[in-house]
Amino acid sequence: MNNPIELEDLRVEFPARRGHPPMVALERVTLTVQQGTIYGFLGPNGAGKTTTIHTLLGFMAPTAGRVSILGGDASQPAIRQRIGYLSEHPELYPYLTGHELLINMGQLFGVGRTELERRAAALLARVGLASAAQRRLATYSRGMLQRIGLAQALINDPDLLILDEPTSGLDPLGRMDFRKIILGLRTAGKSIFFSSHELSEVERVCDHVAILAAGRIVAADKVEALMAPGESLEQFFLRMVMPQEVQP
């Protein structure tokens, strides 16, 4: 069986724009996400995490290299049918209520209305938004948007979940809920790929981690294999991404 995500020597270059030279966003990015695992994708701001995710999802074309997602490429609707995606700072429709968002997004996956109502109610309860289901998203807090964003990413019962900074904006309770949800999904055999700045969160839930710095993978392995004895993921991360002379 194919791995849910395979990137091989991925290169993404943004073309030159007026006054700006071409910029290499990703260079020789290679990683593999195995079935039924949680993969943490770390990197400082501007490292290229979102660019990698956007390339994976086919929002932009790679300049070179191979992208395989669920054995195909994300330009095929049949592949996207099996993917759940939460964008960074969930960019959702402010005029819809939480319930309407789930129904509309679910219908885009071709899920029937009765099944959708059942899934929507279950997901709203799961992300702790049952009481806010009839409120418009414009009135939601950042954390609530993150929660409803996660719910819409799960509405199609995806085989692969791709989450861009899913815990940003969540309070400790929200993070705990998030942890429970994705650990539950892993138990159910789903694969999860998520980018994050929350290193403690990543250390707690991820099986594998890759660290991206300036568009290149500087470390990728099982979490416990990466760190030296007694070292935290945060210490390891800083060691990888910061120049020697400025390390604390």
Partner: protein, 262 residues
């Protein structure tokens, strides 16, 4: 097909929740007030003038409404970044273009139908009436015109910014309405090179004047033959389909970025 309806319904929900219908109601109020106070040179009681002015205003308002509605659909998704959530779903770019067009067209059509109803009401209040079959033909061709305008506006937003697309949509529809039919007259007696250019333009531009049967309604000339009506509808459908095809061709390879690497 269900995906198209979902996308179209989201266009409608957006319009209603943004309270756009209030704008339409204000426009309707202004139209009614203007028509009821219409009394230039003491001709206020002449229903024919009322019909003429009412239908002219209806055409102008529907034109503006259609361009404004359609031209904001795709750029708005990109501006809000909701495009990312949308294109991550199993919909094709063709679904996206068609769904947006369908939503914008139906919304413009509903608004236009209300404007016709308002004009009809004023005509009735002034003791006149519209001939029903002709009115239906006028409305049907007007909706076909709106299908063209919304498709053109959406197609233009796939290659231009929203404001540039709106300007171009007004210019092209204006040229198609006012200029296309007059080109052969302009070509008469012109230098051969100029004649050729004008004739190319004559065949290249859409003949939007064909969709305007207002004068038949104003002067009670009666309906046009069914065959002619079907021919014009087919012509409009072909143009609309062609524009939607162009929109899809331009949009299918569009790659989206946030503008900065994160």
């Amino acid at each position: 097909m269900i995906r198209l309806w979902v996308l179209a319904r989201m266009v409608w929900l957006d319009l209603f929740r943004r309270k756009d219908p209030y704008v339409l109601l204000m426009v309707l109020g202004a139209l009614l007030a203007a028509l009821l106070s219409f009394d230039i040179f003491g001709l206020g009681n002449l229903v024919r003038y009322l019909k003429d002015v009412g239908l002219l205003l209806t055409w102008l308002l529907a034109w503006v409404l259609a361009v404004q509605l359609a031209a904001r659909q795709l750029p708005q998704e990109e501006r809000r970044h909701t495009i990312f959530s949308l294109i991550a779903k199993p919909i094709t770019r063709a679904d996206l273009v068609l769904g947006k067009w369908l939503g914008a067209w139906l919304a413009a059509a509903a608004g236009t139908a209300l404007l016709y109803a308002a004009t009809w009401l004023v005509v009735l209040l002034r003791g006149g009436n519209f001939e029903l079959v002709t009115l239906m033909q006028v409305l049907l061709l007007h909706l076909c015109f709106l299908a063209f305008v919304t498709a053109l506006s959406i197609a233009l937003t796939t290659i231009l910014t929203q404001s540039a697309a709106m300007t171009m949509a007004y210019l092209l529809t204006g040229a198609g309405y006012f200029l296309a039919a007059r080109l052969p007259v302009m070509a008469t007696g012109a230098a051969p090179a100029k004649t050729n250019v004008l004739l190319v333009l004559y065949y290249a531009l859409p003949h939007l004047e064909l969709f305007d049967l207002r004068q038949r309604l104003v002067h009670d000339w009666g309906p046009i033959p069914a065959g002619v009506l079907l021919g014009i509808l087919g012509y409009g459908a072909l143009w609309t389909a062609g524009l939607l095809l162009l929109a899809w061709l331009a949009y299918r390879r569009t790659r989206f970025t946030r503008g900065e690497m994160t």
